[in-house]
């Protein structure tokens, strides 16, 4: 199996889906001739032409809204928000429209749109090119939010998102784009949206996380294993709606749970994970449910000192895991 980077898995999934289904098209800012500011759509303009690889005006609400309109009449649009931070002008279209079209029309209409956006920090992006925005959308039934951690998951989940009958937000960690590589089959496959993935089995403690932090947890788990501590690492993959079953199962098994996110803590995805556990397996727990997250500040600053202070890393995760194991 070829080893490719996280971003190449994005491109591969887009290309294969566009080849498979002529209704699939992509639109966004600079995704055409330039191939995207991160090059996620490189080569697609050349292969599929201007009409299916549409450079749009600089207007996110229209990007989302036009995609929604096209999706309602049978197209399969994949819209790119250049940075997750710039999804904000499109919130009305995403929450009031995409998420509610099937429901409000009593299943008469639907809206199979995918909105991709790079999120996350650690790339000197400062306040507005580093944010985790998933929590803003993670209270809206009708939406699904996918945040893959590996190239394998990227390909399988992006394809699943494009084939999904409902709107999917697909957030890609921009620091993972080139730093994370992995084996990806050349063949066609999809992975289930709505299912968490146990990336590592273990009996002593559970770490539940998603995105880039999965790798930090995996690295730390290897270190702990050398000291005889076996960590179960649960990759949420779909952060909304959550896969309660897998969360509950792992929490009940180890009784010690650490939740990790790069986002700031209050109101984050891991708060919901904690609430699910507290509701369902309180008496299986041997330690308080720990949350490890960014500080309560709007987003990470530009200066390297402060960026590093905010950003999650393997050391922070390892430290929290050891504390939990010793609890």
């Amino acid at each position: 199996m070829p080893v490719i980077s996280y971003i190449d898995a994005v491109t591969m999934a887009l290309r294969e889906e566009m080849e498979r289904d002529s209704n699939v098209f992509i639109l966004g800012e600079d995704i055409g001739r330039k191939g995207g500011v991160f090059k996620a759509t490189q080569g697609l303009y050349e292969q599929f032409g201007e009409e299916r690889v549409l450079d749009t005006p600089l207007s996110e609400s229209a990007i989302a809204g036009v995609a929604i309109g096209a999706a309602m009449v049978g197209k399969r649009p994949v819209a790119e928000m250049q940075f997750a931070d710039f999804i904000m002008p499109a919130v009305n279209q995403i929450i009031s429209e995409a998420a509610r079209i099937r429901y409000r029309s009593n299943n008469d209409w639907d809206c199979p749109v995918v909105i991709r956006a790079p999120y996350g920090g650690g790339i000197h992006g400062a306040l507005y090119h580093s944010q985790s925005v998933e929590a803003i959308f993670a209270n809206q039934p009708g939406l699904k939010i996918v945040m893959p951690s590996t190239p394998y998951d990227v390909k399988g989940l992006l394809k699943a998102a494009i084939r999904d009958e409902d709107p999917v937000l697909f957030f890609e960690h921009k620091k993972a784009y080139r730093s994370i590589k992995g084996e990806v089959p050349e063949a066609d496959y999809v992975l289930p949206i709505g299912k968490a993935d146990v990336k590592r089995k273990g009996d002593d403690i559970t770490v539940i996380t998603y995105g880039l932090c999965v790798h930090f947890a995996m690295q730390a788990a290897e270190k702990l294993a050398k000291d005889g501590i076996e960590t179960e690492v649960v990759d949420l993959r779909t952060v909304y709606p959550l896969d309660q079953e897998t969360i509950i199962e792992s929490a009940a098994k180890t009784g010690k749970v650490l939740l990790v996110t790069e986002d700031n803590k209050e109101g984050s995805i891991i708060s919901e994970v904690s609430a699910i556990i507290a509701e369902n397996c309180l008496f299986d727990l041997d330690a308080p449910i720990q949350r490890l997250a960014g500080p309560e500040i709007p987003a990470m600053p530009y200066a390297p000192t402060m960026e590093k202070y905010f950003m999650m890393n393997p050391e922070k995760v390892e430290k929290a895991m050891r504390e939990l194991a010793e609890f």
Partner: protein, 336 residues
């Protein structure tokens, strides 16, 4: 009175059908107010005074293939596109059988796929980019259909109007944007809404033609929308049409318009009521005879009576039906 429709290539039958659709819309609207004031339905949003523009426009479209994105006052448009009186009554009574939403949405939030009436929400103007997206899809698929979207003049100040119109302008998409300028956005008069003199002044900013026309005249509206539709189908891009009219009722059944406009102003506007002026036209040009008119009124009344009775007696959705259709059925197990 001069016969204007002959020169436009409109037959007497078509003009009569236009009048009848307008009248039906008006009578339904009046009935809804009665039902509201007698406590039978909780809410009415009204199209009185806007029927001419709605019906004139709808008749200029290809009702067998075009997509429409009406806003909450567009009873005339959805009637012309095939929604039945019974369906409208099921909607205002919020019954399970309502084809727009199964009783989920407030009245006026139309949607009916089989008639290509695209589901609409309450936040105004979100439908403009949708119309543009539908036009984009039509262009990509080289289909002959166009999309047609309406909104109020107040709503033309939303960002989505601007972004959607510009997108359509850049890609020369087959979409018609029709503003129903009824001179108020709830209580706020148009001159406190619009920096410009006219909504149609905005068209040039998106590279499309813009027209302000008499929305009380269904024939004038027909003509302009027809031309815009032809142009759209020829691949020449979008058009913005501003139709001037007056909102003859309060904003909704929850509104009391006496706090922000005078009775005189409303009375004056009623002189231009298209139901009066267009009636005069069809009568004086001999399109509508007295007999035919009486029959028409009787038929409409009966239709509305039957529809009302049916809707009133129809069942509500069961409480738990509130849980249905959040996601596609096939996937509910996986995701719920």
């Amino acid at each position: 009175m001069e016969n204007r429709h002959k020169n436009m290539g409109l037959s007497d039958e078509t003009v009569l059908a236009m009048y009848e659709t307008m009248l039906l819309a008006r009578r339904i609207d009046e009935r809804m107010w009665l039902l509201n004031r007698s406590g039978k339905i909780p809410f009415v949003v009204s199209g009185q005074g806007q029927e001419a523009a709605q019906v004139g426009a709808a008749f200029a479209l290809d009702r067998s293939q075009d997509y429409i994105l009406p806003y909450y006052r567009d009873t005339g448009i959805v009637l012309a596109f095939g929604m039945t009186v019974k369906e409208l009554m099921l909607f205002v009574f919020a019954k399970a059988e309502d084809p727009n939403s199964g009783g989920r949405q407030m009245p006026g939030h139309y949607g009916q796929k089989k008639n290509r009436i695209v589901t609409n929400s309450s936040p105004v103007t979100t439908q403009v980019p949708h119309a543009v997206g539908i036009a984009l899809a039509a262009k990509m698929e080289k289909k002959d259909c166009i999309s047609f979207v309406t909104f109020g003049e107040g709503s033309s100040n939303q960002g989505d109007f601007h972004e959607g119109a510009n997108f359509a302008g850049v890609h020369k998409l087959p979409v018609i944007l029709m503003c129903e300028n009824n001179q108020y956005a709830i209580s706020v008069p148009a001159d406190k809404q619009l920096g410009s003199a006219k909504v149609s002044d905005r068209a040039i900013g998106y590279g499309m033609p813009g027209y302000r026309i008499n929305g009380n005249d269904p024939l004038e509206v027909y003509q302009y929308v027809k031309e815009a539709a032809d142009r759209a189908r020829r691949g020449e891009g979008p058009t913005l049409i501003e139709t001037m009219m007056y909102r003859l009722t309060p904003h909704t059944s929850d509104d009391d318009d006496r706090s922000y406009r005078t009775a005189e102003e409303v009375e004056k506007a009623k002189l231009e009521d298209p139901m009066i002026t267009f009636r005069t036209y069809v009568k004086e040009t001999g399109v509508l005879t007295d007999d035919r008119e009486q029959q028409m009124e009787r038929d409409i009344e009966q239709l509305i009576n039957e529809a009302t009775d049916y809707a009133e007696q129809a069942p509500y959705a069961k409480p738990e039906q509130a849980l249905d259709f959040v996601y596609a059925e096939t996937e509910q197990e996986g995701t719920r």
